[in-house]
């Protein structure tokens, strides 16, 4: 029987920066084991949404529950417990320059989990293998890696602690289409293998179609449409239609000037 409590439940989330409202009463629920992709144009609040869930930003209003537990306003020890359930692949991988590749992958195990370095190293090598990287890569510095390899290492780090929830921030941005597809396949495989709940944000529709069970579209700080991935072509929503077909003409007017 499916768990009736959503893994992640976001209600009436508001966040702004100065005069600019970024999230304007956003609502979203993600069931356990589900893979949801939030699509939307640049500057629509996708990254801000993820940062609010992770506690990197504090919302002005609203509720974010993980496993039914309110996380807004949580103190650090409680936040640490929630973060232990979450893995994150950053847009540019955000690998630590001062550490080798294997130390990056093992970071959560050593610093967060208190595991011994030798033991953590073995797991890191296994995780690198899971994302198609040879053990030798572990000795390299992140600066020596290509963009695709950095994403794979970032993915290995995100899954190293076998989290219950994984976030993917623009997983294919900056990659060629073939490498992008390789990363998409890895994401699908690893998320299924872990039985994790996944929340991804992207504007890459090929990626969204491949990794999502359900897609939600964000526009002006709200979720304006959500449905199964096979429903998106017949959404009946003109905003969604314009976005997925990449048309300049339509109800979405892009700000061409900053501000």
């Amino acid at each position: 029987m499916a768990n009736p409590i959503p893994k992640i439940e976001i209600s009436e989330l508001h966040k702004g920066f100065g005069q600019k409202t970024v999230l304007d009463g956003l609502n979203l629920e993600i069931a356990e084991g589900e893979s949801v992709v939030v699509i939307g144009g640049s500057g629509t609040g996708k990254s801000v949404l993820l940062k609010n869930i992770l506690g990197l930003l504090t919302p002005e209003n609203g509720s974010i529950k993980v496993d039914g537990e309110e996380t807004v306003g949580m103190s650090w020890p409680d936040r640490e417990t929630v973060l232990n359930k979450i893995g994150m692949l950053f847009q540019n991988a955000a690998l630590f320059d001062s550490l080798s590749v294997w130390e990056n992958v093992a970071f959560g195990l050593i610093e967060g989990g208190g595991m011994k370095r030798n033991e953590a190293r073995e797991i890191a090598v296994a995780k690198l293998s899971d994302v198609g990287l040879a053990p030798d890569i572990g000795k390299l510095s992140p600066a020596e890696l290509s963009g695709g390899m950095r994403k794979r290492v970032g993915l290995a780090r995100a899954i190293a602690t076998e989290p219950e929830i994984i976030f993917f921030d623009e997983p294919t941005t900056g990659l060629d289409p073939i490498m992008g597809d390789v990363i998409n396949d890895l994401i699908v495989e690893r998320v299924k293998q872990l039985g994790a709940t996944a929340l991804s944000i992207t504007h890459d529709m090929a990626s969204a179609r491949k990794i999502a069970d359900r897609i939600a579209m964000i526009y002006k700080g709200k979720i304006i449409w959500a449905g199964r991935v096979d429903e998106i072509d017949d959404s009946g929503n003109e905003f969604v239609d314009q976005f997925i077909h990449g048309r300049a003409e339509g109800p979405i007017q892009m700000d061409v000037r900053a501000g």
């Binding site: 506690g55 650090w76 994150m88 630590f96 970071f107 959560g108 967060g112």
Partner: protein, 235 residues
């Protein structure tokens, strides 16, 4: 607020011994050449300049006293502080600033690691511990610089010079310099971490953070130098 959080995390576990060790070496060991060179040339110049002035009053005998008191009470801590600020404060701001703009600090948080404990606390502790060590070394080298010039250039008697140096020196002269050094070490690390942590906007933001870290630490060193001097003046 940043200072309060930073100090709090210096005293609350977990502690990152490896990172502290790395910072001790970075701030202490690798700053030795620059601090040593600054000290020896300062001591040498001080002896020459003192001679120029004191010879006019037939008071050349006071050179040893002037050199040792100036070095231990004032010049070693201030110059070492300013040199380390340029070397270490800038490096801290650049490293933490780059981590900030490339989301590495966010990544630390998502990996259940408090950035204040991991990045800021080891640097603060290492700054407070290593600056006094550097200043103690600078004291010795600076006095030695004055000795070299006084003996080999100005023709002083080595035994008399050393006796005068030793007789005039009191523990408080050295201690006041070491207290200043510990405070300067704290300020240098704090400014490096603060400006790095709050840097935004890519390479330009990191560059600005680096400049701000060095300038603010240097100004604070000079201001705190006066305050600490006044404090010891009253003793």
């Amino acid at each position: 607020m940043f200072t309060g959080r930073a100090v709090f995390h210096c005293f609350v576990p977990p502690f990152y011994g490896r990172l502290l060790g790395r910072q001790l070496i970075e701030i202490g060991y690798y700053s030795l050449p620059v601090v040593g060179l600054t000290a020896i040339f300062t001591g040498m110049v001080l002896a020459l300049q003192s001679y120029t002035g004191f010879a006019r009053f037939n008071a050349e005998g006071a050179i040893a006293s002037v050199v040792v008191l100036s070095i231990t009470r004032e010049l070693a801590p201030v110059l070492a502080g300013l040199m380390v600020s340029g070397r270490i404060g800038a490096a801290m701001a650049a490293e933490i600033g780059t981590m900030s703009v490339t989301e590495q600090i966010d990544a630390l948080t998502t990996l259940s690691t408090n950035p204040f404990k991991y990045l800021v606390a080891p640097r603060l502790i290492a700054g407070v511990l290593m600056l006094p060590v550097l200043v103690l070394v600078a004291d010795i080298i600076g006095v030695f610089g004055g000795y070299l010039v006084s003996i080999y250039k100005l023709g002083f008697n080595p035994t008399v010079y050393l006796e005068r140096t030793w007789d005039i020196l009191e523990p408080l002269d050295v201690i006041s310099g070491l207290v200043k050094a510990a405070v300067f070490g704290f300020l240098i690390s704090l400014m490096g971490c603060y400006h790095g942590y709050h840097s935004r906007g890519g390479a330009q933001g990191v560059g600005a953070a680096t400049t701000n870290a060095v300038v603010s630490a240097s100004v604070l060193i000079l201001a705190f130098n006066y305050m600490i001097t006044e404090l010891f003046f009253a003793i």
